[in-house]
């Protein structure tokens, strides 16, 4: 067991070094997209943890990301916290929000839970228009600055701000996956799976179902909050429009495409979400379509992919392919 842990730690380190090294060789656009992918990976894996392992559904993760984003920006701007601490504040604030939501969630299930979280996704971001400190529709700007000199000097060349964003979000994403992976192998992970598999049997074995569900919701929300703070960093500001209903749905789609019970699949889901607009751009350019087509085509393709996945591979494309091979 210890040996395999060391091996997987090494693998993570290798992937991390490979990705960070890669950022020296690719176009800045790809670096930015890489950072986007990393943020999506965190957000999607937070949903996978919640839905795939603890069996609860959330259509409101965009709202939890908003809590994380706003908390990070406010603490950075008004308390002058270092960036990493601001991100932590974002995650903790979202965890608190998720804890409260989780208390309600533990008493609800299926469509009722989906409806409650959906309402949150619709309502919460518009709070920004009610309180002046939240900056209204225009939002609050968030500039974490450039990479520290000791990092920028070591790598040489032009260390752009987007590259720094990529580094920060990639490291956060790897740490997140590492954390979730271990968490799922721990007592908590086993408890969540037991509750998801059969609540009555789990209760009979002495598991406190409510507490287990609330914990899953809280952890998932903290990760969503981190993703929200990172998204604010990427965009350079937080505003209600950053956390739309579309974002919440996109994340669920990403999780479904990944296979909701497949943590590593979150990377696939995230890549797909970033690549789709790229593909539609190429298609629209070839068809000579207007900018309206380019703007709406990604939504259409994502929705179609979602429907196809649910119909033909409800457990995610990977499990589907594996099953085919084994049969």
């Amino acid at each position: 067991m210890r040996k395999s842990k060391a091996l997987s730690a090494l693998t993570f380190l290798a992937i991390g070094l490979f990705l960070l090294g890669l950022s020296n060789f690719v176009d800045e656009l790809r670096v930015y997209q890489g950072a986007q992918i990393a943020v999506y990976v965190i957000a999607i894996s937070s949903i996978i943890l919640l839905t795939g392992y603890s069996g609860q559904i959330s259509l409101g993760h965009g709202a939890l990301m908003a809590i994380g984003g706003y908390a990070a920006v406010l603490s950075y701007t008004y308390w002058h916290l270092p960036v990493l601490l601001a991100f932590t504040v974002g995650a903790l604030a979202a965890a608190l929000g998720g804890f409260i939501l989780g208390m309600a969630a533990a008493r609800l299930s299926g469509p009722y839970l989906a409806g409650t979280t959906l309402a949150l996704a619709v309502g919460l971001p518009s709070l920004a228009n009610q309180f002046h400190i939240l900056g209204g529709e225009g939002g609050l700007s968030f500039d974490i600055g450039e990479a520290p000199k000791w990092i920028a000097n070591k790598t040489g060349g032009d260390f752009t701000q987007y590259k720094w964003f990529f580094w920060v979000s990639t490291v956060c994403a790897l740490v997140t996956i590492w954390f979730i992976k271990n968490l799922l192998q721990s007592r908590f992970g086993r408890t969540w799976r037991a509750v998801r598999g059969n609540p009555s049997a789990a209760a009979l074995s002495g598991i406190n179902i409510g507490r287990s569900k609330v914990l899953a919701f809280t952890v998932s929300s903290a990760l969503a909050g981190l993703a929200g703070a990172l998204l604010a960093m990427l965009l350079g500001l937080v505003a209600p429009m950053a956390f739309t209903l579309t974002l919440s749905f996109t994340l669920v789609t990403g999780a479904v495409l990944a296979g909701v019970t497949n943590l590593a699949g979150s990377i696939v889901g995230a890549v797909v979400l970033v690549v789709i607009p790229e593909i539609t751009d190429v298609v629209a350019t070839h068809l000579g379509g207007s900018e309206k087509i380019t703007a709406n085509l990604p939504g259409l393709i994502t929705s179609v992919l979602l429907i196809l996945t649910v119909i033909f591979a409800p457990n995610g494309p990977k499990l589907h392919i594996r099953k085919k091979v084994h049969n």
Binding site: N129, E137, S141, M241, L263, I267, E291, K292
Partner: protein
């Protein structure tokens, strides 16, 4: 179970494959990245603009980029700029700073535009500033009058064209003191840097209001919000109302006031941003009776003034190159910025670079021909464009005639700080033949 050893190994294989796919998709972009100045080839110059094509603020402003593109197409058909055709990449930001940031990313990193032209909105341009500055991309003739954009230290690559909202508020304040002394004035304004800039200008000239009514950008679409504006105006006893908002806000205010029976009881004074009569008429036909007789500020000639040589030429171009679009002040704004852009590109020389473009504006920009009535102020130390407004009375047919006497334009010029408001006559360079710059 799910976390099976073979599954884990499979998971890593998928992860590595995903990363490899991304890397492969990334490499060609590096391999083929251009070595010369971004956006300039032997035969083309690529420019970009962000505007609301959809959403609450879109009506009217969605015509600006197509007016600009029509003018560029006209120039392209007449030889282009030093043999290069101008391409304009138009991106929709729905008047959202978040979307503005993301499409500006695309314009600079993906489309690799040479410069941005006429990007619209105060908050939107603020949101993209950091990135635009970092990349050193010239941002010409922003479609906003936020006075802050003339700050060359904070926005070194940004060139303002519109007189600032600060100037506009001072000019309106001066005009109110001049012609509306003793009246009770209410103010409706957009509650972001757009409106706040105007508030500061009014404060500078000591204009007092019986009611100040802020609205959050986008909330003008909500009838209950508009109802509150009108009831506040009524309860304040105002007989004059100033609107500092986008076209949809002006249309909503006038429509709401008509419904409340305020026709003939309140004199409306409209800031230039939301004063295009064609847009307002189309949006809220009920606003028409109040629009008729409203006073509006402008720094360009009225779009219906066919006696103006620029307007006449632009209307001809619009008919030929912007098929189906009604010529209004939005199209005029787009074409006017287009004409200035062509002069700036010509002045940047046969092998334009971003640095040469900005240097050209600094040294010769103030002499460029444009439809604007106020002089242009660009220099090495200032990125301020126009500096003044004239006041015109709107009529139901969309025309706008000077309020001061028979057809005589009077310009109220000032600055974005403590300078006085000065009345002056209009002087502007003659239009180049056929509207094709030869500088």
């Amino acid at each position: 179970m799910l976390v099976h050893r073979s599954t884990k190994r499979g998971a890593f294989a998928v992860a590595v494959a995903a990363v490899a796919a991304l890397a492969v998709s990334a490499l060609p972009a590096q391999a083929f990245s251009p070595r010369s100045e971004a956006g300039v080839t032997a035969t083309t110059i690529k420019l970009g603009i962000t505007v609301p094509l959809t959403g609450a603020a879109a009506p009217g402003y969605n015509k600006v980029p197509y007016g600009m593109k029509a003018y560029f197409d006209y120039v392209n058909d007449n030889g282009g700029v030093n043999g290069r055709k101008i391409q304009l990449v138009i991106k929709d930001d729905a008047y959202s700073p978040i979307l503005a940031k993301s499409v500006t990313n695309d314009l600079i990193l993906k489309d690799k535009v040479f410069a941005l032209v006429g990007t619209l909105g105060t908050a939107n341009n603020e949101a993209t500033s950091k990135f635009v500055n970092d990349k050193g991309v010239p941002r010409l003739f922003v479609n906003t009058g936020f006075s802050g954009f003339a700050n060359t230290k904070k926005y070194p690559t940004t060139y303002a064209l519109f007189p600032s909202y600060y100037m506009e508020a001072k000019a309106i304040g001066g005009y109110l003191a001049d012609k509306f002394a003793g009246k009770k004035v209410a103010l409706i304004y957009q509650d972001d840097d757009f409106g706040i800039d105007a508030l500061a200008g009014f404060a500078q000239v000591g204009t007092t209001f019986v009611a100040k009514i802020p609205y959050a950008s986008g909330s003008q679409a909500d009838p209950t919000v508009v109802g509150k504006w009108i009831s506040t105006i009524v309860s304040s006893g105002a007989d004059t109302a100033v609107v500092f908002g986008v076209s949809t806000a002006t249309a909503a205010a006038l429509g709401g006031a008509y419904k409340a029976g305020l026709a003939g009881k309140v004199q409306w004074i409209l800031g230039s941003v939301g004063a295009d009569p064609t847009t307002i008429k189309t949006l809220v036909p009920a606003a028409l009776p109040l629009l008729n007789g409203a006073i509006a500020t402008s720094f360009l000639p009225a779009a219906a003034d066919t006696n103006d040589e620029y307007v006449k030429q632009f209307q001809e171009i619009n008919t030929k190159y912007n098929k189906g679009a009604t010529f209004d002040s939005n199209v005029l704004v787009g074409m006017n910025a287009g004409m200035l852009t062509v002069q700036a590109l010509r002045a940047a020389g046969a092998n334009p670079t971003r640095a040469k473009l900005m240097a050209a504006l600094n040294t010769s920009g103030s002499k460029f021909a444009s439809a604007g009535f106020a002089p242009l102020g660009w220099s090495k130390t200032s990125h301020v464009g126009y500096n003044g407004y004239w006041f015109g009375r709107l009529a139901a047919d969309g025309s706008q005639t000077p309020v001061d006497g028979a057809g005589k334009y009077v310009l109220y010029t000032t600055d974005s700080s403590k300078g006085a408001v000065v009345k002056s006559a209009i002087t502007r360079p003659a239009m180049p033949a056929k509207g094709l710059p030869t500088n």
